[in-house]
Amino acid sequence: MIEIKNISKKFGKLNALNNVSATCNTSECIALIGPNGSGKTTLIKSILGMVVPNSGEIFFNKKTIAHQWNYREHIGYMPQIGRYPDNMTIGQVVDMMKDIRNQKTELDETLINKFELKEMYNKRMRTLSGGTRQKVSATLAFLFNPQVLILDEPTAGLDPVSSEILKEKIIEEKKKGKLILITSHVLSELDDLVSQVIYMQDGKLIFHKSIQQVHTDTGEVKLSKAIARVMNYEQNN
């Protein structure tokens, strides 16, 4: 579904992405893991076309994404820090996105209902707390029933109840055969979600394995412990 071929990106002298290649198929749930500043968000933004790589190519459904925009209607993106026009209310933002996407097929409003956003439709974006913003971001990502979901730190800032709602939703969508890309630092909550792990460090893709493979390689059952082991290993070498 998404094929990343040898992409590199430099911000000044910093090598944010260094010759990264990966293939992501449908009905996989992939965790993007790595220390801060390892290039996870840059990789996601490259897939979305928000960052233009210096070299390499990305294919979406076998078609290159360079100078394309239509492919984004198949992607739901939840940014790490959801930033919205300050003067708009939640309702206006949701309506605007519906208007812009102009999708004919049915919309998925489960999250709007479960997060009880309808009661807050008149609140302006600038008055919202970080957690409520995250709820709006999550709602928008799932609203259009996209084939691919890209979630950058989805549960950061959410209260336990909401974060549980979101996790259930992710599992539900995974069962429908969607491709889900998640970055997160809270590894413990990825355990029951992900089927594959991509580990990045200093802009390089260190490995891309299935979760079973990670378990057998490290001998740990918990993802958090397994990754801690990998990180220590990488640091010592």
Binding site: V52, H67, Y71, P79, Y84, P85, D86, N87, D99, R101
Partner: protein
């Protein structure tokens, strides 16, 4: 594209600064035009307002607006939209709302008190200057990521076009006063849209005698129809070129 323009315009109109700008222009124009019994004098005072305030407000408001819309742009970029569409919609939205403010604030009083060829030229020049300085501001924001720096650059650009440029031209004239520079002056005027606007309006007012011998050369060139068409073409280029460069640059920008 229309949808995004609609959202940009509603957003700008919700922001009360444009309304305040419109009311200021309206008050200034009405007072200036009704104070003087000689309409030409009134128009001359209004000319200075148009040439100084309109570019200043256009450039600063647009720069601040673009920086404040960073979130909006980011949100739109993750949607199935062309980058070119997003950028041009922002430009058209800004241009439309500031033009409306200018038209109500200045064109209305001019049409009421001083309906004449000079008045019409003044309205057209003011409108073009509004759009030119929005285009310049939007280009400037793409070169500076930092908000304070970008707004500073915009103010410096305004300072350059409205004050520094004339100083440089004077300096140039005095240094090379032994040579016949009148024709070159016509070319130099094209490098500054504000000067071009000023010359166009002053020539229509028939006060070119005040500009001395250079004024005569100007009259020879800008007074003719070809000159008029040429200068409006240059003004349009001042819109198209910055917008075109900005679209190219925005297409490659990382967000």
């Amino acid at each position: 594209m229309n949808k995004i323009i609609k959202y940009v315009i509603t957003d700008i109109l919700r922001n009360k600064i444009v309304l305040a700008y419109m009311l200021c222009l309206l008050a200034l124009s009405f007072s200036v035009l009704s104070l003087e019994d000689n309409i030409t004098k009134g128009l001359l005072s209004l000319l200075n307002i148009i040439l100084i305030i309109v570019p200043l407000i256009s450039i600063i408001f647009s720069a601040i607006y673009i920086y404040n819309s960073a979130e909006f742009i980011e949100l739109l970029l993750s949607q199935p939209l062309k980058r070119k569409t997003i950028w041009l919609s922002l430009f058209i939205g800004l241009a439309a709302s500031l033009s409306i403010a200018f038209l109500i604030g200045t064109a209305l009083p001019i049409l009421i008190y001083a309906f004449s060829a000079t008045g019409i030229i003044m309205i057209v020049v003011g409108l073009l200057l509004t759009i030119i300085f929005i285009a310049i501001a939007m280009l400037a924001t793409l070169f500076a990521r930092d908000k304070a720096k970008g707004i500073g650059v915009s103010i410096l650009l305004w300072l350059y076009f409205s004050l520094l440029f004339d100083g440089l031209v004077l300096f140039f004239l005095f240094q090379f006063s032994d040579y016949p520079l009148e024709k070159i002056m016509v070319g130099l005027a094209a490098l500054n849209p504000i000067d071009l606007g000023r010359i166009l309006i002053l020539l229509k007012m028939d006060v070119s005698a005040l500009m001395g011998y250079t004024g005569a050369v100007f009259k020879d060139f800008f007074g003719t129809n070809i000159g008029l068409v040429a200068s409006f073409t240059v003004m349009f280029l001042w819109i198209i070129v910055p917008v075109w460069i900005a679209v190219k640059k925005f297409n490659k920008k990382d967000l």
